[in-house]
């Protein structure tokens, strides 16, 4: 299939997903279930990645700023801005594309291959609405939260690394943290988070939902889903930076 076939079918999937639920309560339950899976399920890895990335950026920024003319607190400013602008949204979402994306693709792929999607369809349920919509909504709700957590923890990790390595004292770090802060950066990070949330949930859902074949194809679909999502995240990252900064 060509790119255009895929893209067309992807758009139809998104369109088909918008319909009135057969039963609000069941959809709500499914949404909560997905929120838990996506939010709580990937919290651990997000926390670890964020702290280390923040810590490493303090060390590396200090290493690059050798001049004595620049105050040490500038390190904190740089760490803060790179974490908020790039590391927290983009790196977190690339990690989530692996964790959440592969889960969505393989879950739907398995349901397709074992005819569970057909079984739902036969009952008179819109499977796109029931299976895909809650995943996308849950991503919209949870991924920005994870990104904010990653941002806070990333900066905290940077502060910790500064203290532990003796590069700059916590007080210095905090001075830098407050200096020249642009609230818009946070807004921009959230724009990114929402865009990436859509990518991470809808692209793997597409590849999983339309799997054909058996277990082998589920694996392939899930790899394709993660790779495509990552590329789309980086692509969108560039577009957003070009448009909004």
């Amino acid at each position: 299939m060509t790119f255009f076939n895929h893209f067309g079918r992807y758009l139809l999937m998104i369109k088909g997903m918008i319909s009135k639920p057969e039963n609000w309560k069941m959809y709500w339950k499914e949404l909560m279930h997905q929120c838990y899976d996506i939010g709580i399920g990937s919290l651990g890895i997000v926390v670890i990645v964020a702290i280390f990335i923040g810590a490493v950026s303090t060390l590396q920024t200090a290493y690059q700023l050798v001049s004595n003319l620049i105050p040490r607190s500038t390190i904190a400013q740089i760490v803060r801005d790179t974490v908020i602008l790039e590391f927290a949204p983009t790196i977190t979402c690339i990690v989530l594309a692996g964790v959440v994306g592969s889960k969505i693709a393989s879950e739907l792929g398995n349901m397709r291959v074992s005819e569970q999607i057909d079984a739902l369809e036969i009952m008179g349920i819109n499977t796109k609405a029931y299976l895909i919509m809650p995943k996308i909504l849950a991503s919209f709700l949870m991924i920005p939260v994870l990104v904010v957590i990653a941002g806070v923890l990333g900066i905290w990790g940077g502060r910790l690394a500064g203290t532990l390595s003796g590069i700059l004292a916590p007080e210095e770090f905090e001075t830098g943290l407050l200096g020249g802060f642009l609230p818009y950066n946070v807004v921009f990070a959230l724009y990114k988070a929402y865009t990436f949330a859509f990518i991470i949930s809808s692209i793997p859902a597409y590849f999983g939902y339309y799997v054909q074949g058996g277990a082998l194809e589920i694996g392939k679909a899930s790899t394709t889903a993660v790779v495509t999502s990552c590329i789309m995240i980086l692509f969108a990252d560039y577009i957003l930076a070009a448009l909004l900064l």
Partner: protein, 257 residues
């Protein structure tokens, strides 16, 4: 009643259903028989719209399913129960939750009413004490029975069973056949069953369609099938020497020799 007019389906070059027409009446067990790969599964999937046929029409009580809008299809499907060849149970749900799923989605009964209904159907398919088990923890035959329970829990008007008794022992197989037959009569359901089990054919075959390489090769009832002179059908039914002998005896009897 389901009416099928000139149904045609091919995958690429391969013709799987070749211009088949038939009428499946309500209150009867309509059996589709044929060897493995003869297109039975594809046939019923075309009837319920899981495959779109290339040509032809399917009418449910006179209303064309083929040209129906999505919303109407969804409504009709709430009256359809289907058992899949591989059972297709939801593997994140327990047996009880699987059977309760259609009730949760389409009824506003209280939990205890739903539970009562679930236990009722599970009992009908001879499955007790498995409520809390997950599909991965039960045998293939048990999965089949859960699949049937889930298909009938909403009292469907149309019931499709893809090989309800493959993988079951003869005894359970008989129980399942009887159950499907009973509810077919009791609720005047239009039931379509794919099978290659000759016991079921003789037991419940009110109306039998024999499929051979995508064609409807023979049509009749279990009273007639034994005496059929169709070569291909006979090769299929009397695959074993023993059965061939039985047939010869019966035919001689019938001819009064």
């Amino acid at each position: 009643m389901i009416e099928i007019r000139n149904l045609h389906k091919s995958f690429g070059e391969k013709v799987v259903i070749n211009d088949v027409s038939a009428v499946m009446e309500a209150g009867k067990a309509n059996l589709i028989i044929g060897s493995s790969g003869s297109g039975k599964t594809v046939f019923i999937k075309c009837l319920v719209g899981l495959f779109e046929p290339d040509r032809g029409e399917v009418l449910y009580n006179g209303v064309s399913f083929t040209t129906m809008e999505d919303e109407q299809r969804k409504e009709l499907r709430q009256k359809i129960g289907m058992l899949f060849q591989g059972s297709a149970l939801f593997d994140s749900l327990t047996v009880q939750q699987n059977v309760m799923f259609p009730l949760n989605m389409f009824t506003s009964l209280s939990y205890s009413e739903k539970l009562k209904k679930v236990n009722e159907v599970l009992e009908r398919v001879n499955l007790k004490d498995a409520n809390k088990k997950f599909p991965a923890e039960i045998s293939g035959g048990m999965k089949k029975r859960v699949g049937i329970a889930r298909a009938i829990v909403l009292n469907p008007k149309y019931l499709f069973c893809d090989e309800p008794n493959s993988g079951l022992d003869p005894q359970t197989s008989l129980v399942i056949d009887k159950l499907i037959y009973e509810i077919t009569k009791e609720f005047n359901i239009t039931t379509i069953i794919n099978t290659h089990d000759m016991n079921s054919v003789m037991e419940i075959g009110d109306h039998i369609i024999y499929m051979y390489q995508g064609d409807k090769e023979w049509e009749g009832s279990n009273k007639e099938i034994i005496y059929s002179r169709n070569e291909k059908l006979n090769d299929f039914i009397f695959a074993s020497e023993f059965l061939k002998d039985v047939k010869e005896m019966r035919t001689r009897e019938a001819e009064g020799k």
